[in-house]
Amino acid sequence: MELPDPIHQFEIKEIISLNLGSTNISFTNSALFMVLAVLFGCGFLLLASSRRKLVPGRWQSSAELVYEFVANTLRSSAGSEGMRFFPLVFSLFLFILMVNLFGMVPYFFTVTSHLIVTAALSVLVIGLVIVYGLYRNGLGFFSLFVPHGVPGVILPFVVFIEVLSFVSRPISLSIRLFANILAGHITLKVFAGFVVVLGSLGWYGWIAAVLPLILTVALTALEVLVAVLQAYVFAILTSLYLNDAIHPGH
């Protein structure tokens, strides 16, 4: 029996084929899960908060918990002035969280396993940092690259490193999310594939399949953790980068 192809799960399939000129803008399985994530995330928050109770129930409490969690993350990183970006950070967190968790359901497509998606979100964040940083601080924004108290001799070197680290931010931000999700899903598929293949070999195969089965269960738990953690990492890094735009002087 052939081992299931671990790459197959990342294939994009057209659901409604659309073309704008020569550009393919079809509604795909990826788009479907983006829309589902938005509907599900917003639906949860809207329904949970619809009764506006003073003493919250279970659902309202969990919605408030998510809200306060993201709000505290942003406030502790970027200060109270950073709270103007709360809708964006909350949207990013919720979107990535929902999309990642949807990806954990078997046969569901994982939107963040495609670099274009994570890159687009990263460029949005870094673009906002640059635009808002320049709008708020003018040329003072570039003091971000000039740390205080560095001797003049090595200053050009330090500035070079600072610029390099700033430029690498959108790359690391997008690759981190993309690679974590991609690698996790491939690993999961491979180990789950072992179970199926070994199970088809008879009783000795069943015994041998126990180990990959345990690993698959453990990896599933780990991947759920990674799905939540990566959403949090993206949100907190966004907060830290926005803090640089608000307070460029170190």
Binding site: L3, P6, I7, H8, F10, E11, I12, T23, N24, I25, S26, F27, T28, S30, A31, M34, V35, A37, V38, G41, C42, L45, L46, S49, R52, K53, L54, P56, Q60, A63, E64, Y67, E68, F86, P87, L88, F90, S91, L94, F95, V111, S113, H114, L115, I116, V117, A120, L121, F178, L182, I186, V190, G193, F194, V197, L198, L201, Y204, G205, A208
Partner: protein
Amino acid sequence: MEGTATAGFIVAQLEATPAAPAAEDATPPADAAHGELAGVVIEEHATEDHGGTFPPFDSTYFASQFLWLAISFVVLYLLMSRVIIPRIGGILEDRRDRIARDLDQAGRLKQQSEEANAAYAKALSDARANAFRIAAEARDKAKAEAAARQAEIEKNLDGKLAAAEERIAEIKAKALADVGAIAADAADAVVERLVGLKASPSELSDAVTAARSGGAGNA
């Protein structure tokens, strides 16, 4: 033996499977840099049932993914900033206000109860002081009355004592006066018996008086 051999075969096959697309991965980033020409090549590959490109690097659906990401994310952002965040933020704000208000009221009530307690304690101590005062007054009054009565009784008794002493003195004086007459009578009888003469009363009384004064002088 057979089992381990099979497992070995699977591992070998497994290693081969992800390695195959990984080897082809090297091309797409370069393709993306090259632009349209490379895009056409990739599209040809993509049509062959993913045989060509690793799906995440297949640029065929980059535009579609970007567009639908933009649409869904903008909808999400608008819902967040217009509806969800104001609503949940409002709930939390209301709760904070309510808690602050309740704490405020609790503090006020506590202060009130403390005031009431202090007032009660003061009333209690006042009442106690009052009671002491009244008791002291009553005691003083009773003492004064008793003293007055005692004084009155003493005065009464003194009066009676004085009257009694007066009478005693009177009786004594009378008795003393009678002593002369009795002595004269006795002397008369004695004289008549011894001498057989009848002495005149004036002589008798003179003699008694002389005897008494002599006696008195002797005493």
